[in-house]
Amino acid sequence: MKIIKKAQAGSLESCDIFLKVEPYDCGIEINIENGVKNRFAERIKKIIKETLKELLVENVKIDVNDKGALDCTIKARLETAVLRAC
């Protein structure tokens, strides 16, 4: 899939994650807000990369604001944002 426009999904409610995706040329860039203080930052990045692979997305910039989302929520919100951005 090719990301052709900006899109967002999710929310800042507890247990959710807010994602903004936008077109990008240099592969996959993931920015997690307060990432250094987030003990799940690496795991979030891992889930995002795996999901992008499944969706066949190779170039995208993602801004992440995590409010304690479980794996399936991260995956779902990313899938939604990507589909909206195509």
């Binding site: 250094v36 003990r39 799940f40 795991r43 995590d66 479980l70």
Partner: protein, 468 residues
């Protein structure tokens, strides 16, 4: 005669405050306290340094303390409880010496054995007379029984009453007598009593919390202790309060009259007393204004000192007579050790308060907690900070299962034969990790910024400075 001094500035000069002294405050005004900030401002102007702050509780309103820490006016803190930005400042290394975290009873013990020597006790006094008689139940800032201030009043070298309600001599009723007090200072306001009921002292409406409370009630019903004459204490958290609410209804239904409820008193407990479901309340702290009013007006609602409440070295204390305590936790490990001082990010969010004391004293200690909080598992391999040792904890109740400490064979047998979802604690841990995954370990510097003590004074863990 009058002990009234015109200002805080003046009284500090009179008592000759010096570098290195230990000053104390109580937290009965909780997040509505003005006194600590007022006094520390004046102390900062004088220029003394390296003071130890022995405060029974520190709240978000005490944020100005951080500057005093940075300026080395306060270089050590000795406390039972910290919530808010001061806790974060400590784990970020802003306090020169390690903070000491004690339980309520532990602090009383330390003061009475002179381990914690207080030079000056500043006592926020909702009402005082010119001779220094103090009470906590009259005046615009009435906040309750002042139980935590009692050891300070008896053992500090100098005792200063700070009041916004000076009355004619002699004040009555009297909680702290004039023979203990050196000076009285009148200020505009000692605090905002509306803010006593702050933060978590509201019954939870979260459906998960209510489910946990329901399970806890069933544990109590099956425990063999739930009969006329029983006694209990609940923590200040929303789920514990929901348990108290369910207990209330069940006691009415089954016509069970309790002998006493102990500790921090709320409207819920006052209602139970008024309905004749409890013989008496033993109040060391009022969590809301109904509790403040009731302790003043109802002789069956007794004010007690923190030493009577929980001092393990006193000739006896109330927690050791407790049947059931219902407490919270930020983390629990598979040995039933509990963390109540730091959160899953290593930040100070509380302190033992009465946790350690009631857990050890009561016959049955029930921890009520969700299995995960946000994305963090509550039941974990290793605690971020140990506060209450596992030998004191009998049952851990979560919405996804209930674990019983195998060292309490009697409760184990009763609950296994009930219809409750009893599972080994290792299974609860497994479920938690399966849901959340394992978080990256917290990074710390070696530097110790806090020492956590059990009620007998033994250090049970250290808090280290966070590394980002």
């Amino acid at each position: 005669m009058t002990k009234v001094v015109k200002s805080i500035k003046k009284v500090l000069k009179l008592i000759n405050i010096k570098d290195g002294m230990t000053i104390s405050f109580h937290h009965h005004l909780r997040n509505g306290d003005y006194v600590m900030n007022l006094v520390l401002e004046e102390i900062a102007e004088i220029g003394v340094k390296n003071l130890t702050l022995a405060a029974t509780g520190i709240y978000p309103i005490h944020q100005p303390l951080i500057k005093k820490m940075e300026n080395k006016i306060i270089t050590k803190i000795d406390t039972d409880f910290i919530s808010g930005p001061v806790g974060e400042a400590i784990v970020n290394g802003k306090l020169e010496q390690p903070a000491i975290f004690r339980s309520r009873g532990g602090r009383a013990r330390a003061i009475e054995t002179k381990e914690l020597k207080i030079d000056i006790a500043f006592i926020a006094a909702p009402s005082a007379d010119s001779a220094g008689n103090i009470n906590g139940v009259d005046g615009p800032s009435a906040c309750g029984p002042l139980g935590y201030a009692i050891p300070d009043a008896h053992y500090a070298d100098k005792v200063i009453a700070i009041t916004d309600n000076l009355v004619d001599y002699p004040l009555f009723p009297v909680r702290i007598e004039e023979n203990l007090v050196d000076y009285v200072v009148v200020v505009d306001k000692i605090g905002d009593a509306q803010k006593i009921m702050s933060g978590t002292t509201i019954i939870t409406r979260d459906p998960i919390g209510l489910r946990i409370a329901k399970y806890a009630l069933q544990v109590i019903e099956q425990s063999g202790l739930f009969k006329t004459g029983f006694s209990f204490q609940t923590g200040a958290g929303g789920i514990s309060l929901a348990v108290a609410d369910y207990l209330h209804k069940k006691m009415k239904e089954k016509n069970i009259i309790g002998s006493f409820a102990l500790g921090g008193i709320t409207k819920f407990l006052v209602d139970m007393l008024n309905e004749g479901l409890l013989k008496t309340l033993l109040n060391v702290q009022s969590f809301d204004l109904d509790a403040v009013k009731s302790v003043k007006e109802n002789p069956q609602h007794q004010a007690i000192s923190v030493s009577r409440y929980a001092n393990p070295k006193a000739k006896s204390c109330a927690v050791d007579n407790l049947d059931i305590s219902i407490l919270g936790a930020s983390e629990v490990d598979t040995n039933f050790n509990v963390n109540i001082v730091t959160d899953s990010n290593g930040i100070i969010i509380g302190g033992s308060g009465g946790h350690n004391d009631s857990a050890e004293g009561s016959k049955l200690t029930i921890i009520v907690t969700p299995l995960i909080r946000g994305r963090f598992p509550v039941v974990v391999d290793k605690l971020t900070t140990v506060t209450t040792p596992g030998r004191c904890i009998d049952v851990v109740v979560t919405e996804r299962g209930i674990a019983v400490n195998p060292n309490n064979k009697e409760i184990e047998e009763r609950l296994i034969n009930s219809n409750l979802p009893i599972v080994p604690i290792s299974k609860l841990k497994g479920v938690a990790y399966q849901l959340t995954g394992k978080p990256e370990p917290i990074k710390f510097y070696d530097r110790i910024v806090g020492k956590v003590e059990e009620r007998n004074g033994k250090i049970v863990d250290y808090i280290r400075m966070l590394k980002y």
